[in-house]
């Protein structure tokens, strides 16, 4: 197929990809370099910035105690809520179904910084202090739509008669769901959960408003470190995030063979 593509297109595509990947490549290279002044290309190979990362309490707390915990909890809760919502939307007909569907996907359409500001004002009004919980709750708002989309797509492609068959053979609705529907939906569920984790793990626009002193997420900590011109420990922490996210995307690609849920 690509034989028809004219050749000048290929160098152009390569250059665009180079521009897309350049910042990530540079960050990873700098994290292994000995220079504290972010020299690129690195003059040697060292793990001292990774050592500095694991010895820095603020970095370790923001990475393992806040971002990773909030990300995993957000993934589990968003998958539970999102699956329930998707089943309701696909399997039942009720008034306002379309409105609900649009409503559930809405957080994807409103600019994130406005969602962050609105939630900040909302919590301020209720006099709720910023904590890991406010961060988790807010991340649920932007993570759940991804699960709903992914599970809805999986459900639409599934024959509802399979579940009916199970019920007519004597299964209770719950049994029919867990023994028939759930195994068939497993890959959509998993990819929804992975995306929910990634969205929460890399979010900064909401976290900037909703992280408290005890609940600074990794991106927010990186943000302030960059502002105060910290050392390549920033690059080491960033490299760890890049590797985790890269591996997860590869996993989703494996689950879906080829196409990501785009």
């Amino acid at each position: 197929m690509s034989g028809r593509t004219p050749w000048p297109l290929l160098p152009f595509v390569a250059v665009v990809y180079l521009g897309l990947l350049a910042p990530l490549v540079v960050v990873i290279a700098v994290s292994f370099g000995p220079s504290a002044a972010f020299a690129f290309p690195p003059t040697g190979l060292t793990l001292r910035w990774f050592e500095a990362f694991f010895n820095s309490k603020p970095f370790v707390t923001s990475f393992f105690r806040v971002s990773l915990v909030v990300g995993l909890l957000a993934a589990v809760l968003a998958t539970t809520l999102g699956t329930a919502a998707a089943i309701g939307l696909v399997r039942f007909r009720f008034t306002g179904r379309e409105a609900f569907e649009t409503f559930f996907l809405m957080p994807l359409l409103v600019p994130e910084i406005l969602v962050g500001a609105a939630l900040y004002l909302f919590y301020a009004r209720l006099a709720i202090h910023a904590s890991v919980l406010t961060l988790l709750w807010s991340h649920l708002i932007i993570c759940t739509p991804y699960v709903i989309r992914s599970v809805t797509a999986g459900l639409v492609g599934m024959d509802p008669r399979l579940e009916e068959a199970a019920k007519s053979l004597g299964a209770t609705p719950l049994q029919a769901f867990f023994k028939v529907t759930f195994p068939l939906l497993r890959s959509s569920l998993l990819s929804g959960a992975i995306f929910a984790f990634i969205i929460s793990f890399s979010d900064i626009n909401l976290a900037l408003f909703l992280s408290g002193p005890e609940s600074t997420s990794l991106p927010v900590h990186l943000f302030s470190q960059i502002q105060w011109e910290g050392d390549p420990t920033i690059a080491a922490a960033s490299s760890l995030q890049i590797v985790i996210i890269g591996a997860l995307i590869l996993l989703v690609q494996r689950i879906f063979r080829l196409r990501l849920m785009v």
Partner: protein, 282 residues
Amino acid sequence: MGAAAALGDPRRALCALSVGAADRAVCQCGAVQCPRLSPTKVVLPELTFANYLKIFDPYYARLFGRTLRLGLVTTAICAVLGYPLAYFLARARPRVLALGLFLLIMPLMVSTVIRVFGWIVILGRKGMVNQALVAVGLEPVKLLYTETAVVIGLVNIFMPFMVLPLMASIERIPPSLEEAAQNLGASWPQMFLRTIMPLSLPGLISGCLLVYSVSISAFVTPALMGSPRERMVGQQIYDEVLVSFNWPSAASLAITLVLFTLLLLFAALRVTRRAGRLEIRQ
């Protein structure tokens, strides 16, 4: 990514924007007098439009002007760079497509801060570009903390939002149409301009809308890569919420930004309807 599908039908997106509960909180707040003296009292009984009229002050007018202009430039560059990439991916073999999508989605999913950090290392005073310039005997140039840097950052970060809807749109055009155009004597560029472009217009519109709406509300990129004197609306909202506690003013800025997006969606709705008719006629 998700928004791409929803934007495919701008009517639903419109309806979605107008029912937002979180937005309603902001709305209420925006129409209330500024509680400068008491940041804990969010809702005062008097309603006022002062917070909205303030947008016409020279400072805020410049702020909005700059934000909308940078959004336009970013969108235009994304469209020019993204079209060939989208075409390449839409017509690529499955293995190439899988790799291409991975390399497109992976950077999109990594936190914005990290990608901006990479650009700071590349463009900084002692960064890669300036080291290269010095190495060949030229003067170092100021790249970081300029509007150019902000546009480079925004284009890099939001490019996938342009490529994904465009790719989906181009995929739906049968390759036989391309062959027909070329058999009838069109050169490849002619074919691209007169067959692919008109037929992928809905994808282009969704892509432009997405890129424009996310870039006019950007915060991290202008905050870390831009000049403190040339700010964007996102930074102003952040400062008014968290630094100066001028919440009603921040809320009115936020609502104005949402209104811009709504207007764009309206415009897009009209254009896609026309494009839809065009498709039916063919």
